[in-house]
Amino acid sequence: MMKDKIRNPLYELTVARIKESVREPEMLFWVFVFPILLAVALGIAFREKPTDRLRIAIEESAGAEQISKLLSIREDIQPIVLDTGEANEQLRKGKVDLIISIDQSINPQPESLVLANLVFTYDETRSNSKIARMASQDAIERGLGRKDMIFIRDNKVETPGSRYIDFLIPGLIGMNLMGSGMWGVGFAVVYARTRKLLKRLAATPMRRSHYLFAFMLSRMIFLIPEVAMLVVLGWIIFNVRVFGSVLDLVIVSILGSLTFAGLGLLVAARSRTIEGASGWMNFIIMPMYILSGSFFSYERFPEFAIPFIRALPLTALNDALRAVMNDGRPLYSIRLELAVLSVWLILTFVVSLKIFKWQ
C-alpha cells in the first residue's frame, strides 16, 4: 500500500498547485512563450548594427560626382546623389543624415571644389547628422589634399555585457518573475475564493499557513525553468553571458520571485472578485513596468524620484540581476537590493496572513 501513503499536507498542496499551473496552457504561454517573443522582438529591434554607415545625399549638380567620389574614401559613408526634392524628403524621414549641395548664387561656375560654396543641410538635434557633418568635411578636405598633423592609432575594444540586449535580458527576467508571481498567485487565490474553495479548505484541519506557503514553494520550483529559459535563450541567440556566479543568480531569482508571490497574496488577501483583483494588480504592476528599468535605465528620471524608484521591488530585482549577470558582482555588493526585496517579502507575507479572508 505504498502508493496510498498519506503525505505531508504542505507537500500535497504544493504538488496540487504545480499540477494546476502546468495544466493551464494559457499560463504556460504567458510565462514561457511570451517573454521569449518579447526578448527576440526587442533584441532584433535594438540590436547593435555593425558600425552603421552614414547616408549622405548630394544634390544633383556639376560637382556632385566629384563630391561623391571624395566621400567614398571613408568606409563609414554611403553617398547618394539625389535631386533637391527627393533629398529633402529623405532627410525629413531620417533616411539620409545630411544633404550636401553647392550654392551657385555666389560662384555659378566654380573650376574646382575648393572654390565652390558647399552647403551642409542637417538637423542639429540628430546625433548621426552631426557625425555625418564632421565625417563629410573630413573626407572632402582629406581628398582635396589636407595633411593630418598628428598620428592616431585606433584601439578598438568591445566591452562585454554593455549592449542593449545585455541590459534587456535581466530586465525581462525581472519582469517575468513579477508577472508570474503576482498573477499566478493572486489569481489562483481569488479564483479559489470566488468558487468557495477557500471556505471549504477552512472547514478542514488544514493549517492556513500551509496553504499560503505552498504558493511560495510552487513559485520557487517554477522560477527555475522561467529564469533558465531566458538566460539560455539570451546566450544562444544574442550571446548574452552571465558574468557572475550562477548560484548568485539563483539566489537573487528566488528572493525576487518570493517577493512578488507575497505581493500577489497581499492583493488577493481580501479581493472577492477577479475584476477587483485585476485592478489592484495593474495598479501595482504598471508603475513598475515603467519606472523600474526593465526596458530602459531609470537613471533618466528626475533625481529626486530615484530613491523612490529604487525602493520598488522590481527595481531592486532588476538591479540585482544586472549586477550579477552583466557586471559579475558578488552578492555582498548588492546587499541593499537584497534587503529591499526581503523587507517587501516579509511585510507582504505577514500582512497577507493577518488580513486574509477565507470566505
Partner: protein
C-alpha cells in the same frame, strides 16, 4: 486497521453526548435575522434535516454549527465541543463539511483531489476506500471540470468522508441534480448512516428529507416552525389526505367547504386543493355535488399529504420552485 479501532472507541465515548446541541442561537446580518433563536438537539447516529425555502436561514445555521460563522448569541456544542474553546483545528478531524456549491479545483483529478483532502486529516480512510465509498472508481483519473454535476457532488461528499468523520454536515447536497444523480448521492449518504455516522442536512426537497432523515425541522425566517419525524409532522396536519382537481363550469366554494371531511380548501383559478380527513368519504360527495351543479371535474388526483403540504400549511409558500 488501527484507524478503525480508534474510530470505534471514539464513537462509543460520544454516544452519551448529543452530536449537535444548540441553545438560543441567534445570528443577525445588519437588520436581517438570519437565525433567530434556535434550540436543537441531534442525537448521535441520527440524520437530521433542516427543511425550508431559500433564505430561511438554513445555511447560516449550519455554518454556525460548522464553526465557519460565529453566532451572535446562544450556545453551540458539536460532539460536546464549543468552537473557540480549544483547538478548533484539531477538532475538525472529527467532523466533515460539504458546503453548498463548492467548486473544487478544476484541473486536478478525482484521485488527486481526494489525496489532497486526505492529507489535511490525521485520521480517516485511505484514498482507495473513499473512492469506493463515493462510487467514483470509474472517474478516478478524470479531471474535476469534466465531471457531471452528480459526480461532482459525490466527489464533494467523498472529500467530506475522507476523514471517516463522526458527524457530516451537508448543505443542499442534491440541488440542481437530476433524479438519478440524486439517488446515487443518497446512496452514499445512506451507507455513511449505516456505518453509524451522524448527518446534519439542509434541503428544500421534501423527498430528500423524507428518504434520508429520521427527524426534520421546518425552518422559515430564522425560526423552527415545527420539528419531528416526517410521519409526526404529516400526522399533525388536519387533513392528511389530499384531493386535487380542476373545475370546468361553476362550482360554489361554500359548497366545497361544506362537503363531509373537508378541512381546508385552496383555490387557484379553476384548480382546487382539498385537504380532507379521508378520500373515501369526501370524493363521492364531491362528484355528486359537481353533477348537481352541472360542473365538470377533470385532472382529478388523490394522494397522501407530504412534508411539502406540511410546509405549505405552515408558511403558505412552496418549498421549492421546481415543485
Amino acid at each position: 486497521m488501527e484507524i478503525s479501532k480508534e474510530e470505534i472507541s471514539g464513537r462509543t465515548i460520544s454516544l452519551a453526548i448529543p452530536a449537535v446541541r444548540c441553545n438560543g442561537v441567534k445570528k443577525y446580518f445588519q437588520t436581517v435575522h438570519a437565525v433567530d433563536g434556535i434550540d436543537l438537539e441531534v442525537r448521535t447516529g441520527e440524520c437530521f434535516g433542516l427543511l425550508g425555502p431559500n433564505g430561511a436561514g438554513k445555511t447560516t445555521l449550519v455554518e454556525v454549527m460548522e464553526g465557519l460563522t460565529r453566532a451572535d448569541e446562544g450556545i453551540v456544542e458539536i460532539l460536546g465541543y464549543c468552537w473557540g474553546s480549544g483547538d478548533d483545528r484539531a477538532f475538525r478531524d472529527r467532523i466533515a463539511v460539504q458546503l453548498q456549491e463548492t467548486q473544487l479545483a478544476d484541473k486536478l483529478t478525482v484521485e488527486e483531489t481526494l489525496r489532497l483532502f486526505r492529507s489535511f486529516f490525521s485520521r480517516g480512510h485511505t484514498v482507495d476506500e473513499v473512492i469506493r465509498l463515493g462510487e467514483l472508481e470509474e472517474k478516478r483519473k478524470e479531471r474535476v471540470h469534466k465531471l457531471s454535476g452528480g459526480t461532482k457532488q459525490r466527489l464533494a461528499l467523498a472529500c467530506a468522508l475522507v476523514s471517516n468523520p463522526e458527524l457530516l454536515f451537508m448543505d443542499e447536497p442534491t440541488t440542481g441534480l437530476d433524479p438519478q444523480a440524486r439517488a446515487r448521492v443518497w446512496g452514499v449518504v445512506e451507507e455513511f448512516k449505516l456505518r453509524g455516522g451522524t448527518v446534519m442536512l439542509t434541503t428544500h426537497y421534501m423527498e430528500e428529507a423524507a428518504r434520508l432523515c429520521n427527524r426534520v425541522a421546518i425552518m422559515d425566517h430564522g425560526r423552527f416552525l415545527a420539528i419531528g419525524t416526517p410521519a409526526e409532522l404529516i400526522a399533525s396536519l388536519d387533513g392528511r389526505e389530499i384531493i386535487e382537481f380542476r373545475v370546468l363550469g361553476e362550482l360554489e366554494q361554500d359548497l366545497l367547504t361544506g362537503l363531509p371531511g373537508v378541512k381546508a380548501v385552496d383555490r387557484k383559478n379553476e384548480s382546487y386543493v382539498l385537504k380532507v380527513l379521508s378520500i373515501d368519504v369526501t370524493l363521492p360527495a364531491l362528484l355528486n355535488a359537481a353533477e348537481r351543479s352541472r360542473a365538470r371535474i377533470d385532472h382529478l388526483l388523490t394522494r397522501q399529504a407530504t412534508l411539502e403540504d406540511v410546509f405549505m400549511s405552515m408558511t403558505g409558500g412552496r418549498l421549492n420552485d421546481e415543485g
